[in-house]
C-alpha cells in the first residue's frame, strides 16, 4: 500500500519536472528529452495505479497501454531526432533561422 503510494507520488514529481523543463527549454533536443520524461511519468503512474493496494492481482489493461505507449514514444522520438538532425544540416547549409523563432505570417 505504502510502496504504491511512493510510486504514485514519484510519478507526479517526475511529471512536474518534465513539464517544467518542457515549458522552459527552447532547445529542441532538450525539449524532446523533457517529452520523454513526461511520458515516463505517465507510464509510472499507470503501472503504479494498476497495482492498486496489492491485495488483488494487478489490472493488465494499463500494462498493455504502457507497452503500446512505449512503442509510440520511441517512434515519435526517432522521427523527432531525424527531423532535428535535418534541421541542423539545413541550418549549416542555408543558414535559415532557428526553428520556432519564426512565427506564422500574420
Amino acid at each position: 500500500m505504502i510502496s504504491t503510494r511512493i510510486y504514485l507520488v514519484a510519478a507526479v514529481v517526475v511529471l512536474c519536472i518534465g513539464l517544467f523543463s518542457l515549458l522552459r527549454q527552447s532547445d529542441l533536443v532538450r525539449r524532446l528529452l523533457a517529452f520523454n520524461t513526461v511520458t515516463s511519468a505517465i507510464f509510472l503512474f499507470l503501472v503504479a495505479a494498476a497495482h492498486g493496494d496489492g491485495s488483488v492481482a494487478p489490472d493488465p489493461v494499463p500494462h498493455a497501454m504502457v507497452l503500446t505507449g512505449i512503442v509510440v514514444a520511441i517512434s515519435m522520438t526517432a522521427l523527432a531526432l531525424a527531423l532535428i538532425r535535418r534541421l541542423q544540416e539545413q541550418g549549416e547549409e542555408t543558414a535559415v533561422a532557428e526553428p520556432g523563432t519564426r512565427e506564422d505570417e500574420r
Binding site: R31, V38, I42, T68, V72, S75, I84, V96, R102, E105
Partner: protein, 493 residues
Amino acid sequence: VTAGWMIAVPVVGALASLVVPRGRWTRGVGVAAVALSASVAAVLAMGVYEATVRHPVGGWEAPLGIELHADGLAVLAALVACVVMLVVSIYASAYFSRDPGSHGWRVEEAFWPSWLILLAALMALLLSADAFNIYVALELMTLAAVGLVVLSPSRGATAAATRYLFAAMLGSLAYMLGVALLYGATGALELDAVGAALEGGVLAWAAIALTTAGLLLKCALFPLHFWLPRAHANAPPPVSAALSGLVVAAAIYVLLRLWLHAFAPVVTPAAAQLMGALGAAAIVWGGIQAIRQQSLKLLVAYSTVSQVGYFFVLIPLVLVPAHAMLETRAAAWSGGMYLMGAHAFAKAALFLAAGAIAMALGHDRIVGVRGIATHLPISTYAFGIAGLTLIGLPPSGGFVGKWLLLAAAVESRQWWWVATLVVGGMLTAGYVFLVLGQEMSEARSDAPAHFTPVPLTMEVTAMALALASLTMGFAAAEPLRILQEATPLALGR
C-alpha cells in the same frame, strides 16, 4: 468482406511498396492499394445499410480484444476518405512524374509507403470505438503525416514538420493521460461502456478535459492552430490535400464521437457552449487570416483553420436543445457530418488546384495568379467550384450541411450561432472571391510569357474532387438518412 480489410489492405500495400523493384512498381502498388481500399469501402458501405457491423479483430471480444465498429457514419466517412485518397493518388502520380530523375523516384519511394500507412491509420481511426485504440491510430496518423510533410523540397518544410510533430506529441501526451484517467473513472475503454459508466466528479472532468485538450491540438482549433498553416502550406500538394481534407477531419470526428456519444451524459450546456464559442472564434480568426495571406497555399491552409470551427459550433447545436427537439438535433448532427464530407472533397480540390497553379507559375503568390484562368481554365474552375462548397452556396454539398446547421440554430433559438454561421460564410466568400478575382482578371503586362506545363491529369483530378463536392448537394437524401440513423442521440440518451 469485413471491416478489418479496410486496415489490412493499405498496410499490406505499404509493405509491398517497400519490397517491389524501385520506380514505376512502387507507384503502381501504391495506386492499386488505394483503389482496392476504396472498393472494400464501397462494398462495406452497401452491406452496412441494414445494421451496424461489429468486428472483433482476431476473434478476441471486447473488453480484452479490439473491436472495430462499422456503423453508417464510420462506413460513409471511410468511403469518402478512400475516394479522396484515390483521386489524390492519381494526382500524385502525375505530380511526381514531372521530376523523373533519380531524385524524383527517391521522393516517390518514400511517399507511397507513408501514404498507405496514412490511409491505414485513417481507416483504423474511423472504425475504432475504443479510446485507447483511437490513441494508437492517432499516433500512426501523425507519424505518417509528419513524414509526408518533409518530402517537400521547400525550405520551410522541415521546420514546419518539426513544429507539427512537437505539437502533435504534446497533444498525444494529454490524450493518453486523459484516457488513463477515463479508465480509472469508468473501468472501461470501449466508448459505449465509457458512456454508460461515466458520472460526474473531479476524475471524470479531468479525463474529459485532458482528452479534449489533446484532440483540440490535433484538430488545430483556434488558438491551438499555430502548427497547421505552415505544415499544410509547405507540404507537397497531394499531401496538403490529404492533411487538410482528411487528417484534421479525422481528429474532429474522434472528438465529436467522444463529446456527442461517450461524454454526452455528463457534458453540461455551458461546456457545450464553450466549445461552440471556440469554434466561432476559429471561424472568424481563420477567415480574417485567410484574407490577409499573400500566398495561395497559406490562404487555403488558413481556410482550414476557419472551417474547423463549424464542427465545434455543431456541439451546442446537438447537445444544448431540450430532449423534445430530438429531430432538430439529429438534423444538425447529420448536417454537420455531411458538411465534413463535402469539406473533405472541396478542401482537397482547392489544394490540388493551388498545387497545379503553383507548378505553372513556379511560385504561389496571390498577386502572381492574375490572368492564370486563360492558361489553366480547368484548375481555375475547380478552385471556384470547390469555393462554392466552402462558402455554402447552393447547390453544393456545403450548402446542404450549412443549411441544416443554420436551421437547427434557428429552431433551437440559439441566435448567436446563426450570426456566426452567416459571418463565416461572408468571410469564406471574401477569400474565395479574392483569389478568383485575381485569377480571372486580365494578366498584367509584366506577367511571364512562359508557364511550366502542368499535366492534364493534375487539373482533371482537382476538377473531379470539386465536382464531387458540388454534386453532394444533389444526392443528399440517402446519406443524410444513414447519418441520422447512426446518430449517437438515437441511443436514447
